[in-house]
Symmetry: C2
Subunit: 349 residues, 2 copies
Amino acid sequence: MHCNEEKGQKFIKDIEQKKFLFSFVISYTETCEIPGITVAGADADFIKFTPPADAEFLHYGSCKSIDMIPMTPDGKPTPALLTKAALESASIPQVIINAGSKISPKLPYFHTGVTYGKNIAIEPGLEQSNVVHAIDYGRILGRTLASCTDCLIIGESIPAGTTTALAVLKSLGIDAHVSSSMPKNPKSLKNGVVEKALERSDSKEPYDVIANAGDPMIPFVAGMLSTASEITNVILAGGTQMAAVLAIAKSTGYDENRVAIGTTSYIIDDKDANLLDMVKSISDIPVLSINPKLEDSKFDGLRAYSKGFVKEGVGAGGSMIASILKTGIDSKKLLKLIDKEYSRVTTSQ
Amino acid sequence: MHCNEEKGQKFIKDIEQKKFLFSFVISYTETCEIPGITVAGADADFIKFTPPADAEFLHYGSCKSIDMIPMTPDGKPTPALLTKAALESASIPQVIINAGSKISPKLPYFHTGVTYGKNIAIEPGLEQSNVVHAIDYGRILGRTLASCTDCLIIGESIPAGTTTALAVLKSLGIDAHVSSSMPKNPKSLKNGVVEKALERSDSKEPYDVIANAGDPMIPFVAGMLSTASEITNVILAGGTQMAAVLAIAKSTGYDENRVAIGTTSYIIDDKDANLLDMVKSISDIPVLSINPKLEDSKFDGLRAYSKGFVKEGVGAGGSMIASILKTGIDSKKLLKLIDKEYSRVTTSQ
């Protein structure tokens, strides 16, 4: 528990043993095509398949758009594996939202008509009309989904999303340093991209900022948050990206008393990043974190998480927190389920 | 209450004052392009816009794909008006599912990849692969939606859907006579279409029957029913079409103890149709009906319902039943809300 602890205690009390719904927002920014900026996906051609493949893995336990589950080139699995184990352990239902993914997943998903984002190093990320559309449709879906649950978890998958999040936060004047899915964060590369985006515009108006430096996920989830938090509790499941959502949601409006960020301890402990300081400077909401103790896993690919690889994504942290709050399972048992899932996946493929 | 009354009482007791979720399945069959077969939509070019326009009306209170709300040529409004008033009265959330609509609605909806149906008078309604796909995706969505509620209401909008339903029921050897949105049911026209479909194939195998004589809505909702009824209570909101769903769902499997058909008294009282006999011959489930007493409405367009026009659609009957069961509102108060909605719609356009 971090930041506003009092609110955090109240938030936890409100949702313990209640109903949860996991919504998974998949999206895309061409910013991820800059060589070296992300390891989400085994190689450059594969990156665009990562968000739909994550969605398919959550649904089916295997992928349809690609032959294997998303892994780093040396075999570290997608955080969707943690998410799936967590959601299953607590029988938490899930819906997939396509908010600008370049590839559509092969399953029933919410269609939103949101277009994928451009490479912010060379041009504005989104057209203004796409920003407005994303917020509008996010607001509609946030209202619908929030009406069906006691706690809406929102997770995301957008390759290079930390870079666009960083650009949005910096554009808004927030002192931001971000995490990465790689232990050697390609900071100078990311900062170079962000600088190029910042040079194009000095507007601090939120819609301008998203259009110039953002990606489709940020306005969509900000819209969802604004209506959903009026109706129910919301866990923004992620790190830096959710800080950017929060910063933009200031202008769409949301209920600070019904929102928490839920993430992994790997993000909180990341010395390169400053999630807690960022959140504090944006909003007075609690940040919940879970240490899944992956260093105790039987498998190299999972132990790597505790050494700074991957860290978070696909709403893994928030899902694991929800599982523990709903069922009372301890993190040791959860790790057993995660190991079991890893074993299933690596032996069946 | 009709058919199995004991099960009906238990069903009602299980869902009174509970949480409901309305799912609205929009679809299309080219069968509706046969002149005179339906009045769903003001004219032939408009028919394909009726399902998405109904969905938009439920969401926004106005339509985006067309300039006005769906009406018969002489101004009788879509049953979506009853549905909307009912859902709002009880704060029942709704999701839109596009299972083969020719036109996509302008709102966030579940994309399923199901293709629209062909005119069964001249060719098979669906390819076998589309039937399998519709059932598979229906099963996935049924599971997801059922996990979010105590009672899943399933409504539909598919122009000429009673004709394809009739063809499916007759192909399965069920003695079927169906309702129509017109007081002078174009029975000979419908029967002629059905005969042409039946001449093409004499297989009674359910998948063959849907492929030859059906539409995409029927297998999709049958799939939804099969998984949803394993998890929660399901109201099949409609008349003849839901009888066809039930007949097909025999092969997908479903829990008879958690399903009821919910419809209007106009369907039950329709002397041209035999819904109750059909249901009895298919399955031992209860049929719930509501008389919305539209003859007491202030408006001609709504009073027409009690004279045999429109009768049902867009899950109107099931939604009104759900409103009453959730909130305890009486049908007089519900009529007031329906009149108010009619007044709003006709004065704002």
